[in-house]
């Protein structure tokens, strides 16, 4: 049995940590927080140069052809440092959609550009504050032309292409690849609770869309795509959770009240212990998710929902209690606590809310014949 990352993967982690510590420090993240820039272009360029945008893309399409375990390693480090780039949209979602459902032509057309970072991709699903379903979806496609509004679309203002789910008829939806620079597309940046990650509203008025994958199979494809991305998001969440926990612990060691470090008060110690518990459960579930993702295991849907739910809970727990541990300082703009708090909620909603994933998880447990024993 081997339930660990390999030596090479751990080397990649070291490299990622060194790079991100220098390039995605608090100052870099705050530059995006407080300016009109949508993402950190220098950081993005550095990530592209390291080959990260092509990690899962085969060499024939200009990638470096490693695998999803490597991508999990990178995701954790990006989450830990709050890297303000369109990486998740472009790599976990758009690239993955092309790898999974793209025709040979589409792959040849887009994957090399995605790998080279020349093209940024994203996925457009949300339509405001409702839970989008196949039935209530408003964006429609008729004869390859899309109409309607998607909101919010992560990185929708900076992406060159979007994979859009649209309704073809009353009973079917499909995925369409849309060039966002083309006619019939209007985009505007929207305000979100995490300004370190850019989001947009995209309005389609007869925009040209190219079918991606099977006609009418959009909904199942989207579910599959989100399952795969959920595991990578979960790794980002685990990275963010661990960073928040560590921040809380370190601050508590140095902050004195009542003549002692607050780290010596049980109320704080037990808070940090609870963070450790939540974080460890989530991390272990993420290991399983990583395994399922990298092997395309039949357990993937259950593993993805499990990792997603526990990582969402862990990041929220750690980021909110990190603020609490910092006292008044935790509630200032100046301290980074709120950046993690913001990111935790963003990541938890980006692929659909916690209640929804919990519901899906139970549906999948009901459907599967897996062994759910505790042993």
């Amino acid at each position: 049995m081997n339930f660990e990352f390999s030596e090479d993967q751990n080397m990649l982690r070291d490299q990622a940590q060194n790079f991100l510590r220098a390039k995605s420090d608090s100052k870099a993240v705050r530059k995006i927080l407080e300016s009109d820039q949508h993402y950190d272009e220098a950081l993005w360029k550095g990530m592209v140069e390291l080959g990260w945008t092509g990690v899962t893309i085969p060499e024939t399409y200009g990638g470096i052809g490693l695998g999803h375990l490597e991508l999990c390693v990178i995701a954790e480090e990006l989450g830990r440092t709050l890297a303000p780039t369109p990486f998740s949209s472009s790599v976990y979602l758009a690239t993955e959609a092309l790898l999974q459902f793209g025709s040979e032509e589409q792959k040849q057309a887009w994957l090399p550009k995605l790998a080279a970072g020349e093209v940024i991709g994203t996925v457009a699903v949300g339509e405001g504050t409702k839970t989008v379903t196949q039935q209530n979806m408003q964006v429609t496609a008729r004869g390859g032309k899309l109409t309607g509004t998607k909101l919010p679309v992560a990185d929708g203002d900076v992406a060159n292409i979007a994979i859009v789910i649209a309704k073809d008829s009353d009973s079917a939806a499909s995925l369409y690849l849309v060039e966002l620079g083309g006619e019939g597309v209007t985009r505007s940046t929207v305000k979100t609770l995490d300004p370190t990650r850019s989001h947009a509203q995209i309005e389609f008025k007869g925009a040209a869309g190219e079918l991606l994958g099977g006609a009418g199979e959009g909904w199942t494809q989207l579910e599959k795509l989100f399952d795969r991305a959920a595991i990578l998001f979960a790794w980002e969440q685990v990275g963010g959770a661990e960073a928040s926990m560590q921040m809380a612990r370190d601050y508590a060691m140095g902050r004195y009240a009542f003549g002692r470090p607050i780290a010596s008060f049980q109320a704080i110690k037990h808070k940090v212990a609870d963070m450790y518990i939540a974080h460890t459960l989530a991390r272990s579930n993420c290991y399983y998710g990583a395994w399922a993702l990298s092997t395309n295991a039949p357990e993937l849907p259950v593993a993805a929902a499990t990792a997603r739910v526990s990582a969402t809970e862990a990041f929220h727990e750690c980021s909110k209690e990190n603020i609490q541990t910092h006292g008044g300082m935790g509630f200032t703009w100046e301290f980074d606590c709120h950046l993690f708090y913001r990111r935790s909620k963003l990541l938890s909603l980006n692929l659909g809310s916690l209640p929804r994933w919990k519901d899906m998880l139970v549906t999948r447990i009901e459907q599967s014949n897996l062994d759910h024993s505790s042993q």
Partner: protein, 407 residues
């Protein structure tokens, strides 16, 4: 990453399964709940232990000369995984083999090891752990039971409490105070005690759950030969740490209903006009506990993976008991809620009343083997490297430490 056994591990697992298939019945939903007398359980447990020992499947990681098999930690885990799938009685030996045995191996003289370990391994003699006292549970080093040297013997007077299994045990490891005039951790000494010796009196305690699993044990001028001492005089704390470290390994997940059982229940009972499983609040609860259950399972696998590859596991396992005991309490509680007014009934419940039983036993699990609060302290101090609690009794002779009123 992969979950498959190495060829050697696979071969070992095959052998373990072959033995189990030949000698035991796999657990299944049809496995009856046994309402057997304690004496019958002990008889069954002893027979199973003896059979295992004769075939090389007892105390796998102990040296062969003491009744074990000299197996690797990974082989022990594989055996544990396989044995857990069968309906076999191992409970009465958990403390003796899991905690007392390793302590005897680490600290007893050769003669005592040869005398005691093989009979422990074969199930002929059962052992208990005599640490906790009225004055010292979490703070076990505050114990008062005195051992005084008299010639070649020690004479013990005092009282232990919460001693699981003392009513059927033959021997125990006993933590005593030998020097009250030094700070409390420094004046302790550990012994092997014969539970049938003159002056030992065992009084069962009726637990909140109604069972009588643990006891008060009184010592009145009980004589223990000096060669039954474990470790040096005054080193009892160091010896007890070895026992307690093994305790954390031995007390793994709490048994009882888990998310899967709750799901099954929710499919069976109705909430309003429809099966409870269709209720959103019910589904969310199941999902939460399922994720905890899975998180514990994969945490265990991470530890096993490290062992399998010859490495040292990280501190992840420290979360197991605290999470599983609380999960058990929550699942028991919610399972009964799903039965609505009928949830209070103990007999004729769906799924054999396991939710009621879990809810009644969970409070004890959150206390035994280190309370939730002590475990959080351990995680904060050992894993997160935060400061220890301020101790007012650290450098004070035990005889001068403030003590509360006797409860």
């Amino acid at each position: 990453m992969d979950f498959s056994d190495t060829p050697k591990e696979a071969e070992f697992r095959k052998q373990a399964r072959a033995f189990l298939d030949a000698n035991a019945t796999p657990k299944s939903k049809a496995t009856p709940r046994r309402d057997e007398k304690e004496a019958d359980l002990i008889k069954r447990a002893k027979a199973w232990q003896k059979l295992k020992q004769e075939n090389g499947w007892a105390c796998l990681n102990w040296p062969k000369e003491y009744g074990g098999r000299g197996a690797t930690p990974m082989e022990l885990i594989i055996w544990g995984q396989e044995e857990a799938k069968y309906d076999v009685p191992t409970g009465p030996f958990a403390i003796g083999l899991g905690m007392c045995g390793p302590t005897v191996i680490a600290f007893a003289g050769e003669e005592q090891k040869k005398r005691y370990l093989p009979k422990m391994a074969s199930g002929e003699e059962i052992w208990c752990q005599l640490f906790s006292e009225p004055a010292g549970g979490s703070d076990v080093a505050n114990l008062r039971t005195r051992a005084v040297k008299d010639g070649e013997d020690w004479v013990v007077n005092g009282q232990k409490v919460w001693t699981s299994g003392a009513q059927y045990c033959d021997y125990g490891i006993l933590l005593t105070r030998t020097d009250p005039n030094v700070p409390k951790h420094k004046g302790l000494t550990m012994f092997i005690v014969d539970m049938k010796a003159p002056g030992v009196e065992v009084k069962p305690i009726k637990q909140a759950s109604g069972h009588s699993g643990f006891n008060e044990v009184y010592f009145a001028d009980v004589r223990i030969p000096d060669d039954h001492r474990l470790g040096e005089v005054g080193d009892g704390w160091k010896v007890s740490i070895v026992t307690l470290m093994n305790e954390r390994l031995a007390v793994g997940s709490a048994g009882g209903p888990d998310a899967g059982e709750l799901l099954e229940l929710a499919q069976t009972v109705e909430l309003g006009e429809e099966p409870a499983i269709q209720n959103q609040a019910v589904r969310e609860k199941i999902a939460t506990w399922y994720c905890e259950q899975a998180g514990l399972k994969f945490t265990k696998l991470r530890v096993q993976s490290a062992l399998s590859r010859g490495g040292t596991p990280g501190p992840e396992n420290s979360i197991t008991k605290i999470v599983s005991a609380n999960k058990l309490q929550g699942i028991g509680n919610f399972g009964m809620d799903l039965m609505d007014m009928g949830g209070i009934l103990v007999d004729e419940q769906p799924m054999e009343g396991q939710f009621q039983a879990a809810w009644m036993s969970a409070p004890g699990l959150r206390i035994a083997g280190g309370t939730d609060e002590i475990l959080r302290n351990i995680i904060a101090e050992r894993v997160m490297q935060m400061p220890g609690d301020i101790r007012v009794d650290k450098n004070v002779p035990f005889s001068e430490v403030p003590q509360g009123g006797k409860s």
